[in-house]
Amino acid sequence: MADLASGSGPMFTDPDPEAARRVFRKKRAAFEDKVTSVRDAVARFVKDGDYVASGGFGANRISTACMHEILRQGKQDLGFAGHTTTHDFEILAAGNRSGRKLLSRVDAAYIVGLEARGLSPQARRVMQSGEVAVCEWSNFALAARFRAAAAGAPFMPMRSLLGTDTFQRSAAKEIACPFTGRRLLAVPALYPDVSFIHVHESDPCGNCRIRGIAVADFDLARASKRLVVTTERLVTTDEIRRTPEATVIPAFCVDAVCEAPFGSYPGNMAGAYFSDEDHLKEWLEVERDEDRFEAFLQKYIYGVERFEQYVELCGGAERLKELREMELHPGL
């Protein structure tokens, strides 16, 4: 096939599995206690200029605790993978204010929106300013990029994106199938420098269980050069070994384990608590006015030291009890 096209979008990460193999060769600690604090994990594993990815989907099972800490520690010049990132993206976008630039490049499949809740004014300001380099993808394309990296392959073949401006603005390439001759899309492996995944249960070594949908986290965990896990609760390795088929992320992929109860708040955590729609609405509301937003961030993020304090400010145990009710009785 002569007329194979290439997307013109920027490639933010190196898809070469040989480079990745040299990094992964050093990841080995399957039996090591990796329990640490969110603050120390972010300080130790996130460097300015890193390419970051966030697990979960939308405002569901996201590592809010780590997103806040990245903002609080004032990390700069980060790349970010946006496969239906909603509130997590909204938090990081708050780092691009008053001359600061937390986000400098984004692989975008779904950003700036919060699904049925509307669009984030702050995220839109940032993404419309031209200060952030953007490469376009679809959710499946980004998931396939993590799949390729997790497999240790430089790319994955797939069949969407073709024929659209989304492809033109991506860093994907058209290829001819060696067996059928068909035109296919090849998406490059995406190895994030560091990823943050919130789970229901982890042991101190990082063997993790997830309730409900895994979204792309099976692959994201394996694709990441460094992986910080936050968990609703710590369980023993003995408990993990009772049902090994329930493990989704094995310890040897994990670099840090942080106990973070309600760590997805104000997002949803399956079986634990529903999303706090009032607080999410407040975020969208205050973002309209830069001064109010500044005060809001002071109160909830910059003004506190730990995520637990934020949860307290948002209503603490009382509010979480309500959200638990909503989660357990979804018909109401």
Binding site: G56, F57, G58, A59, N60, G82, H83, T84, T86, A108, A109, Y110, I111, V112, G113, E115, A116, R117, L119, A123, R124, M127, Q128, S129, G130, E136, W137, S138, N139, F140, A141, A143, A144, M158, R159, S160, L161, L162, G163, T164, D165, T166, R169, R183, L185, G212, I213, A214, V215, A216, F218, D219, N268, A270, G271, F274, S275, E277, P330, G331
Partner: protein
């Protein structure tokens, strides 16, 4: 003859197009309400899939996110995004049911930017799973409000494929064969596509709506099906299920 809103009418009209035993990938909002109505009324065996991994849930209420815990509540399987998307790529999903966006005569959609891509006037979320659903499912259904800002001759950005530039263009581009846009349901009419030209055509007008009014609200020339019918209005039963069971709080139908 019950009274009903245009939104209720379009949801009811769309739900009748989802036959029992079919498989559909849905987005939040009206598409999800439509699928829920179909399940509760005439299509109990309609398999609903969500891009984040929810497969055949017993939806207890309207999801706020296509990945929230309602989307896999008592599901047959809570799986991964890749597994759902690969099922679409394998050819197992009949319908992609997408929400509002900028749409052109060939059913192509824009949900990325208005204006220049580097420095857009408006940045929208982007494809999400929309491009994948519309590329890989057999038939794409779109629900949106009907106005000239949405129905445009030329998109600022082609995010999600319809028929692209016309007959055969999807196959030439490498997309799976035999798929493409199926229906567009708005507050004014139901549109399909002309088999010869792949251009949008009016197939049924909602009660009291003239073709002229639809054309006025459309930024490109609309074709007409050989026999333009009147959209059958919702019956008591549909409205009761929609109002009492599907959307009791009126998130979508707004009341």
């Amino acid at each position: 003859m019950p009274d009903y809103s245009a939104t209720e009418l379009s949801i009811c009209a769309a739900s009748r197009m989802l036959e029992d035993g079919a498989t559909v990938g849905v987005g939040t909002g009206a598409p999800c309400a439509t699928a829920m109505l179909a399940q509760k009324r005439h299509a109990p065996r309609l398999l609903v899939a969500f891009e984040a991994g929810g497969l055949a849930p017993l939806l207890p209420s309207m999801p706020i996110s296509v990945g929230d815990s309602r989307t896999f509540y008592r599901a047959q399987m809570a799986t991964s995004m890749g597994d759902v998307m690969e099922a679409c790529q394998r050819g197992m999903m009949d319908y992609a049911f997408l929400g509002g966006a900028q749409i052109d005569p060939f059913g192509n959609l824009n949900s990325t930017v208005i204006g220049d891509h580097e420095r857009p006037n408006v940045r929208f979320p982007g494809s999400g799973g929309g491009n994948d659903f519309a590329s890989l499912c057999w038939r794409t259904m779109v629900m949106t409000e009907h106005d000239r800002r949405r129905f445009v001759e030329r998109l600022d950005f082609l995010t999600t494929p319809g028929f692209l530039t016309g007959p055969g263009a999807r196959e030439v581009a490498g997309l799976p064969g035999g798929g493409g846009p199926h229906k567009v349901i708005t507050d004014l009419a139901v549109m399909g596509y002309d088999p010869e030209t792949c251009r949008m055509r009016v197939e049924s007008l909602h009660p009291g709506v003239t073709f002229e009014r639809v054309q006025e609200n459309t930024g490109f020339e609309l074709l007409q099906a050989p026999h333009v019918r009147e959209t059958a209005p919702p019956d008591e039963d549909e409205l009761r299920i929609l109002r009492e069971e599907v959307d009791p709080y009126g998130y979508i139908i707004g009341r």
